[in-house]
């Protein structure tokens, strides 16, 4: 580790103190042991002449050991409390956020789930995998978990800490250097535990604010889109189509409708639609989309592929044939049909996280289509 924060500097010092204490212990024991053995060789053949023990010897040795232990204990407390104390935000750091002056550390929520980290910023923006923080600023990371125990660990920046479901664990640190820092979860958490990594990008305070606001704007757009789909009102849908320049979601639906017409998978469209009353609207769409699909089915799979690469390949592998902890999708019964795949992606289960809040319904149906047609269907 190369410490880049005041806390990890303390930790590193303590590790070296521990190392030298360990070295002293190890060398002392083995010098004594091999010294005795060497003398053993010299005394071969003669009869034993034992040294008799006196009580004083034990007290002296024990007292010496106790002194050593007390020194280590005190050093341990000093450096540990230094490492866990909240550092001060320096003048070069983020002193005010969105016009409001920051009094305490900047609080960011980190949520562990199998097998990724989600970071929620104070203004509602969030990111996956990558945490962006301002340099020279005291950060408080509130660690939570939605499923099993994970350990958030970025050795260069902060002490590691467990995210335990039902409890909040706090890590405070201050990054003193800009750049990317690497971290890896270090509590066994199941299949894709090994590739459960995270990066921390330390940027200037100005860049941080830009980033968070940008992220929030994107999110808003995405959320609005998702909400509109959810309400399933024709008007809004039409508006949405204009706004988003008629993306690929409809094509997915269109294809399903087409399939349903062929009588292969009659239940698929019902599962997919949120409300029965929306059927009419969907069908109208389907007709429109159908024309587009007829013009070329490829864009749909491409969109799904993108979503897959960003969200699913972490576990299921780049080609969907497993490898990073997730199962081979061609062997999963649910991945054989659109409805099953969508349900699995939306609700998760069997070790897979739910993507309902993460991906819009449109994206979910895209990716489901990609899985069903390209991966399982073997296109």
């Amino acid at each position: 580790m190369t410490p880049h924060s005041p806390g990890t500097g303390q930790i590193n010092t303590l590790i070296w103190i521990g190392f030298f204490a360990a070295l002293i212990v190890f060398v002392a024991i083995n010098l004594g042991l091999f010294g005795a053995l060497r003398r053993f060789g010299a005394g071969r053949g003669r009869s034993a002449s034992p040294v008799r023990a006196s009580q004083g010897v034990q007290w002296r040795v024990g007292g010496g050991l106790a002194g050593f232990a007390i020194i280590l204990f005190v050093l341990g407390i000093i450096f540990t409390s230094n490492a866990t104390s909240t550092p001060k935000t320096t003048s070069a750091g983020l002193t005010s956020f969105k016009g409001e002056k920051l009094t305490g550390p900047l609080v960011i929520h980190a949520t562990g789930q199998q097998w990724l980290w989600r970071y929620d910023y104070p203004n509602g923006a969030f990111t996956y995998y990558k945490l962006v923080i301002p340099a020279h600023t005291a950060i408080e990371l509130d660690l939570e978990s939605t499923d099993v125990i994970h350990t958030w660990s970025v050795p260069d920046l902060a002490p590691k800490a467990d995210a335990v479901p039902g409890k909040v664990n706090h890590v405070v640190f201050r990054a003193d250097a800009e750049g990317e820092f690497f971290g890896q979860s270090s509590t066994f958490s199941g299949q894709a535990y090994a590739p459960m990594r995270t990066t921390v990008e330390v940027v200037s305070p100005e860049r941080f604010e830009e980033f968070v606001i940008e992220q929030q704007r994107e999110l808003k757009a995405g959320n609005e889109g998702a909400e509109k789909i959810e309400t399933q009102k024709n008007e809004e849908l039409a508006e949405f189509e204009e706004e988003e320049a008629a993306e690929n979601g409809e094509e997915t639906k269109a294809e399903e409708e087409a399939k349903a017409a062929e009588g292969e998978e009659a239940e698929a469209p019902e599962e997919e639609g949120a409300g029965e009353e929306a059927e009419g609207g969907e069908e109208a769409e389907a007709e429109e989309g159908g024309e587009e699909a007829a013009a070329g089915g490829a864009p749909n799979a491409e969109a799904g592929e993108e979503v897959f690469a960003e969200n699913c390949s972490v576990c299921h592998g780049a080609t969907g044939h497993g490898g990073n902890g997730g199962p081979d999708l061609t062997t999963m019964p649910k991945a054989k049909e659109q409805a099953g795949a969508e349900e699995q992606v939306t609700n998760g289960g069997g070790g897979m996280p739910a993507f309902a809040g993460t991906l819009s319904e449109e994206e979910i149906s895209n990716v489901a289509a990609y899985v069903v047609e390209d991966i399982v269907g073997g296109k």
Partner: protein
């Protein structure tokens, strides 16, 4: 092996007992020696299996991003290894040697509650069968210590976790029953005159170890039961969100694992004290200090269990408490090392395999405990915990205690158990192979953890993280270690039938087990000697020599012509 059985009254009353095959007799016997043999032979087999499993994992981790093994397969082997190494190798070997030797050492004619030990041994065998029949359907993938919520039904709905818990639970219950038997025997069945201050140090280690097992075993069993209820009857002990607490499991199990760790150390120190005393001809340097230190290690070391939870959301005060206990452990462990080395000093050396293995055990244990010392500083653990550095430290101490210490004890008591000695040449060869293997496996592993923070238990590591060389070295080391394990097991198995015949007291020991025949008859001793000192066999030897001299003198006197 034929033993000379003294005629006993029962024979005359009931006729000659029906001849049974050795195996049939052994599995139905309630004799502590037969139960112990089952445990020891079984744990020898599991040592090989555990080493093989570790070797397979190292094979997967030899090169970065290896695809030799599917992650699921790796996690299954990891979980199996965790159970095998602790519950089916280290603990049964220790309990087995305790159960065989300690009653003999105190001059008991059997154990006080032999049926308990018999049930214990049977439970352990049942556990072993459950664990490895689980291998045939769907083994657990919950890791070395199956931490909930991962081990809850919601995340692992295969029955492998249940099988893992059942197997380890059976084994632990077995150990607890054996511990009850052993502690009662050592409490009430010591030879006349053998006050604790005169009892052999290894018997004291067995006594302390049994009590330790009586405290920690039921706690683990409680945790296992609760998790089983969670999994099978919709319990919420460890599930969050319904009033359950995932951390509760960690308190229970780390208490057990820390206690078991201390049990391994106490066992090794006890056996090494006997061996050093015998082979140097010196009495144990300060028996009282050693006996007290064993108790202190058992209590303080177990109380330090929260050093496994330094990164968990528990109050910082608890972490400091664990650190205090870990630091306090320096005193008794230091005193033990001091007294062991002082026992060795200025003695008359006989450098045989047991001494070699004892020295190896002390070196490995000191290396492991020194590394643990570094990690028990809370701040240092904020980086080192969960890395391969901590894996390496634990393995140094436990391989030192259970493999080196265990085989030191086996080499030492092998003549008593079989009437033959273990091969000296092969013993030395296996010692050096094991030592080399252990160092080459775990030193690079420790460095990878410390320098680059490589995480423990992961099925792969990434290229360009600076750990490639360490990992390939560690895998080569594991191959050497595996060969060492095969050598030492071959030596043990071959020596049962083909070793050099040994007399009843081949090492000139000073404790009572050497007074019995080799192997001892069912009732151990025809005569229970009065014990007048802490070296009863020396007294017996002196008495015999005196008697012989008197007889000689009398014969000489009587044969002299009256002048």
């Amino acid at each position: 092996m034929s033993t000379i059985e003294k005629p006993r009254p029962e024979v005359a009353v009931d006729g000659f007992p029906k001849r049974q095959s050795g195996f049939g007799r052994m599995i139905t016997s309630a004799d502590h020696k037969d139960i112990a043999k089952i445990l020891m032979v079984g744990s020898g087999g599991f040592l090989f299996i555990a080493a093989l499993e570790f070797f397979l994992m190292r094979l997967q981790l030899a090169i970065p991003e290896n695809t030799f093994m599917e992650p699921v397969m790796f996690n299954r082997i990891l979980s199996l290894y965790g159970a095998t190494s602790i519950f089916f190798f280290a603990l049964p070997l220790i309990m087995g040697i305790f159960l065989y030797v300690a009653p003999l050492q105190v001059g008991a004619r059997g154990t006080a509650l032999p049926r308990l030990s018999q049930i214990g041994g049977a439970l352990w065998v049942a556990g072993a069968i459950v664990l490895y029949s689980g291998f045939l359907w769907s083994p657990s993938q919950a890791g070395v210590n199956p931490l909930p919520p991962l081990s809850e039904l919601a995340f692992l709905n295969e029955n492998g976790v249940d099988a893992w818990l059942t197997a380890c639970g059976f084994a632990t219950l077995g150990f607890v029953l054996i511990a009850i038997d052993l502690s009662s025997t050592l409490r009430v069945d010591r030879a006349p005159g053998m006050a604790w201050r005169r009892a052999p140090i290894f018997a004291w280690a067995a006594y302390v170890g049994s009590w330790l097992m009586l405290f920690i075993g039921p706690i683990l069993l409680a945790a296992f039961t609760m998790l089983m209820i969670d999994r099978n009857y919709d319990g919420v002990f460890f599930a969050d969100g319904a009033g359950g607490a995932p951390l509760l499991w960690q308190h229970f199990t780390w208490l057990f694992y820390s206690g078991a760790y201390m049990l391994v150390l106490i066992f090794a120190f006890g056996a090494i004290a006997e061996i050093f005393s015998t082979f140097s001809g010196n009495p144990i340097f300060d028996r009282k200090a050693l006996m007290g230190s064993f108790v202190a290690v058992a209590v303080i070391g177990t109380l330090a269990y929260m050093q496994n939870m330094y990164t968990a959301p528990i109050g910082i005060g608890w972490k400091y408490f664990a650190m205090l206990m870990s630091m306090a452990l320096i005193v008794p462990v230091g005193l033990i090392f001091f007294n062991l080395i002082s026992t060795l000093k200025d003695g008359a050396l006989r450098m045989r395999a047991p001494v070699l293995f004892s020295v190896g055990a002390l070196v490995m244990i000191s290396l492991g405990l020194a590394a643990e010392l570094q990690q028990s500083l809370v701040g240092a653990a904020f980086y080192l915990k969960g890395t391969t550095d901590s894996t390496a430290a634990t393995h140094f101490a436990l391989i030192g205690g259970a493999v080196f210490g265990g085989f030191a004890a086996l080499h030492y008591w092998f003549p008593k158990m079989t009437g033959r000695t273990m091969g000296e040449q092969l013993g030395r060869l296996s010692f050096w192979t094991l030592s080399l293997g252990t160092l080459v496996t775990f030193v690079p592993m420790a460095l990878a953890g410390w320098e680059e923070g490589q995480v423990a238990d992961a099925y792969k590591f990434f290229n360009h993280t600076g750990v490639n060389f360490y990992n390939v070295l560690s895998s080569i080391g594991m191959l050497i270690l595996l060969i060492g394990v095969i050598l030492i097991l071959t030596n043990a198995v071959a020596s049962i039938k083909g070793g050099a015949r040994a007399a009843h007291d081949p090492w000139k020991g000073s404790t009572l087990e050497w007074f019995a025949l080799s192997p001892p008859p069912v009732h151990n001793f025809d005569v229970r000697p009065d014990v007048r000192s802490d070296r009863p066999l020396d007294d017996i030897r002196a008495a015999i020599a005196k008697r012989a001299k008197q007889t000689e003198e009398r014969a000489a006197r009587e044969s002299q012509p009256v002048a």
